[in-house]
């Protein structure tokens, strides 16, 4: 008997209109755990090498973890894994809410989608039944309407994950959204679905999730839930959620402001956690989570959207916008159009800086100053529909800056072509490294070092401890994606990680210590790194740098005015980081030895050829 897994992988071939299913390959469980781990392995195994992201060959993998949908704190996550249309590298993005639990209850560990549908379709899943249904009537519609119509059509207990016009128009940072606020935002999963002509996935599941020791699970999870509920920070957290970080970033000089030119925003007090809380109209949580942080907020004129640190900072301060009402509206616009709010805020701010520097002379109608809400809203629509300047920006900041040319590339804020998220990190070397080495391109969710840097490790210094901590956080955070849970229990309310090893054992019967689980994370990090190298000619160390703005431009204002991290220090820390991962310092790639140690022999052979060949060559 298999516990914690549904023992089923479904395959949907959109080109052939065919659905098949097979049992889960059990040998994946111990090394890769589930979720992002299963997805990364399936992508490595099944994607034709160097496939174009926007091509019928590319696959999108939906993968649940062993904890997804079970009685455990915030066991609510599903990973979407693919080759990104924006980075051309390994990509994943998780989604919370109730979709993942429904997916698991419907009986799936993974659903692998390939091919392209000849006409708009939505994937209908009711337990074992999977159908490709006509979506002509939904095509072109915003996310909120799609969700409403499908629920009306199918019933209220269906969970809907859909794309908006941005995904249809192949905007490379298009998202998928569920429950009008939870998103699989990053790396362009929405564009991949749009290319495949999949408007939505509607899912209902009512199966038992098999649990090895359900009494033990209740005992441990009850303890964990109580730990969270009784934490001193609980009340503050449910009031402000991640938006409480705005004020903190402002004080310490991390608040991305005007395309990350600055790290302090003069209107921060108008968009901080308290300002958000004043607009908040309800508490809303994801499945199995007792620390609600969705933050549904309503503007004075009745627009409702859900705020977190990222969308407030990226659509707010980073665009010079200092009004909570305006942020609520821009955020609603992005969710409805199906745009990642992080990349959108980054790209719009980039365009604003271009405008201020007079680099948009090819677009004489465009007026786009920092802080201009109406211009930002219009530009966001233009991006989603690929109109005018929007068409240029729809390919992401890296591509857009190349086309604009000149100095623009120097202030295009991305790593590996993925737009940097909401922490201005030129005065935090460890966080800069976290962004630089992130496995999907710049994304804070893979490692957030700032707290440790301002408290214990120091912001500017190079130390082995700092590099070690980046590796530890990267692995620990990955663990949540492998298990199918949200990291906030641990990150925000300090639930000890050890709980997750205990929960994993109660659910699956597998007696893994925390170190064993973290080793699985390490394995996934090396595997996805190898994927980048396999897919991109010349991939390596040079891809691991943060923009020049952080390494060379001093902060113009505030307490830390004049400061920035240096390339020399960054290089030193990067060297340490490679060594800690067992990767080659020069190439930045996992060594053959390291890959073999991690049980990834076939990956080593792909990168370095068969071992005996090299031995002979040496002789």
């Amino acid at each position: 008997m298999l516990y914690g897994y549904m023992d089923k992988v479904a395959r949907i071939d959109l080109s052939k209109g065919r659905v098949t299913a097979e049992p889960l390959r059990k040998e994946l469980i111990k090394p890769f755990i589930g979720g992002r781990g299963f997805g990364a392995k399936a992508l490595w195994d099944e994607l034709p090498k160097k496939a174009e992201p926007l091509s019928p060959e590319n696959i999108v993998i939906l993968a649940a973890g062993p904890l997804t949908g079970v009685y455990a704190p915030a066991a609510c996550k599903l990973s979407l894994v693919s080759k990104s249309p924006i980075t051309y590298g390994y990509a994943d993005s998780s989604v919370g809410g109730n979709f993942a639990a429904a997916f698991k209850r419907a009986g799936y560990d993974m659903v692998i989608i390939k091919g392209v549908s000849s006409k708009p379709t939505y994937i209908y899943i009711d337990n074992d039944i999977i159908e490709l249904r006509d979506a002509e009537h939904l095509w072109g519609k915003p996310v909120s309407q799609v969700e409403e119509e499908l629920r009306k059509e199918l019933g209220r207990e269906f969970q809907i994950l859909s794309i908006g016009p941005a995904g249809e128009n192949l905007v490379k940072f298009a998202s998928l959204v569920t429950e009008l606020g939870r998103a699989s935002g990053r790396t362009g999963m929405g564009a991949l679905m749009g290319f495949k002509k999949v408007k939505a996935i509607a899912i209902y599941g009512d199966k038992d999730i098999p649990i090895y020791d359900i009494e033990e699970l209740v005992r441990i999870s009850d303890e964990a839930y109580s730990y969270i509920r009784n934490h001193d920070d609980f009340e503050w957290w449910i009031k402000q959620g991640t938006v409480r970080t705005i004020d903190w970033c402002q004080k310490l000089g991390f608040l991305p402001t005007r395309n990350m030119r600055e790290a302090y925003f003069e209107k921060a007090a108008d968009i901080d956690g308290a300002s958000m809380a004043a607009k908040k109209v309800a508490f809303k949580s994801c499945f199995a989570c007792n620390m609600p942080c969705c933050n549904p907020c309503m503007s004075s004129d009745g627009v409702l959207s859900e705020l977190d640190h990222e969308n407030v900072a990226m659509l707010g301060s980073n665009c010079g916008i200092g009004s909570m009402d305006e942020i609520i509206k821009l955020n609603k616009l992005c969710d409805d159009l199906g745009l990642d709010t992080i990349s959108t805020g980054n790209v719009v701010a980039f365009a604003m800086e271009c405008y201020e520097r007079g680099l948009l002379n090819n677009y004489p109608d465009v007026k786009l100053s920092f802080g201009d809400f109406n211009a930002a809203a219009e530009l966001i629509k233009d991006i989603a529909y690929r109109r005018g300047l929007g068409a240029l920006l729809a390919d992401g900041v890296a591509e857009a800056s190349k086309k604009i040319g000149g100095e623009a590339e120097a202030f295009a804020m991305h790593v590996k072509r993925l737009e940097i998220s909401a922490y201005e990190s030129r005065t935090a070397l460890g966080q800069a490294l976290a962004y630089g080495t992130c496995d999907v391109g710049a994304h804070h969710n893979r490692c957030w070092m700032i707290l440790e840097e301002v408290t214990e490790l120091g912001r500017f210094n190079v130390s082995l401890e700092k590099a070690k901590h980046v590796v530890f956080l990267q692995n620990a955070r990955a663990l949540f994606d492998l298990l199918g849970a949200c990291r906030f229990t641990w990150v925000e309310l300090k639930l000890p990680l050890s709980y997750y090893a205990k929960i994993f054992k109660a659910v699956t019967s597998i007696d893994y210590k925390l170190e064993d689980l973290l080793l699985a994370s390490e394995r996934v990090w090396s595997l996805t790194r190898a994927f980048w190298a396999r897919e991109i000619e010349g991939f390596g160390r040079s891809y691991d740098y943060v923009p020049k703005r952080w390494l060379e431009e001093p902060l113009p204002s505030g307490e830390l005015a004049g400061k920035h991290i240096t390339r020399e220090d960054y290089d030193k820390l990067l060297d340490m980081w490679y060594q800690l991962r067992g990767w080659d310092v020069k190439t930045g790639l996992p060594t053959r030895e390291r890959l073999e140690e991690l049980g990834l022999r076939e990956v080593a052979e792909e990168l370095y050829g068969r071992a005996e060949v090299t031995t002979k060559a040496k002789l």
Binding site: L180, I214, L217, D222, S285, A288, P292, P296
Partner: protein, 132 residues
Amino acid sequence: MTRIAVDESKCVGCHICELICSIYHFKVNNPKKASIKVLSKYPSSIGYEIHVCRQCEEMFCAAVCPVNAIKRVNGVVIIDHEVCTSCYACAQACPYNAIFIHKEVGKPIKCDLCSGNPQCVPRCPLGALKIA
């Protein structure tokens, strides 16, 4: 009379009540087998309906039961599964949509207050569920 009283304005939509309910009654992890149901108020993205038996004074469910399987026992409305013929007339008759159906369970599913110790109540994060 004991029952679970709900304050929907305090519901966060976590479904923890449903999870623990299915675990307590059926020893399975399956919120769709719970005798409490939380539904979001679509098309609005906020607000929840909580459906759970109110142990009504006037038992609409018992009134329609063709085999008299539903009785009040120590103040709690109980379906005697030995007697029940699974016609689900009770589920149809409940004015609060608080009697549920799951094909594997085969009998109407209804809150029995966990033999006097409702499992969902203490686990509700913000106190949307209370014993009244």
